[in-house]
Symmetry: C2
Subunit: 125 residues, 2 copies
């Protein structure tokens, strides 16, 4: 039997900012949630697109040719190879869809980098 996942509830036990939590998988993509506030780190994913769906608040994604602001109920896909840096002036809840092999900080390793084991919850294959 399948169990529905309440998206907003998935943020309840996320206490650390910028630390994605895997809440589902569809094909070769992970569905993740993250609470973000402040500035992340400039990075890119050479082979992988990344979808950001804002569940609460507002996310500004800095791009080399300007910024895009994503409001609650909106999504944007950052194409592969595009350098970007997410910034949230106030706390923002975001759902991510990205390939299972995607490193969330790209080839950049920072204090914010989390391994996929750290991101994986229970019950997701």
């Amino acid at each position: 039997m399948l169990t529905p996942v309440n998206l907003a509830s998935q943020f309840d036990d996320v206490t650390e900012l910028w630390s994605p939590k895997v809440v589902g998988r569809v094909n070769d993509q992970y569905v993740k949630v993250a609470r973000v506030h402040g500035e992340f780190v400039w990075h890119s994913h050479e082979e992988e697109d990344e979808l950001f769906l804002v569940v609460r608040g507002s996310l500004r994604i800095q791009l080399e040719d300007g910024d895009v602001t994503v409001g609650a109920g909106e999504f944007v896909v950052v194409p592969r190879g595009v350098r970007h840096n997410p910034v949230a002036a106030e706390e923002c809840w975001v759902m991510l869809i990205e390939t299972v092999t995607t490193k969330h900080t790209g080839e950049v390793t920072s204090e914010r980098t989390r391994t996929i084991e750290e991101q994986l919850g229970e019950g997701v294959r």
Copy 2:
């Protein structure tokens, strides 16, 4: 420059029930929206999982071992190979994530079957 997509607004120009509309792509997955009401058709996708995120209303997915009801703000992933049949007692708005090659009625062809060209909006690669 990237343009955010307002998810709820994507349903505005969907007039036909059970006719998915592609509103984005992330890697090898399409993001689709569909307005559904009534009963779809029993089918499966042998090689592909399918994610259903309910945006408005409630969706009951009939499975061979029972039903799962997905409410607004909830998602469920129907694993590959699992026969299923979506049913909505009242109109329901659903976001789907599925592989670009997925046939939305599986190997079943019915009056509800739409080609990918029929599902593709403008501006999605």
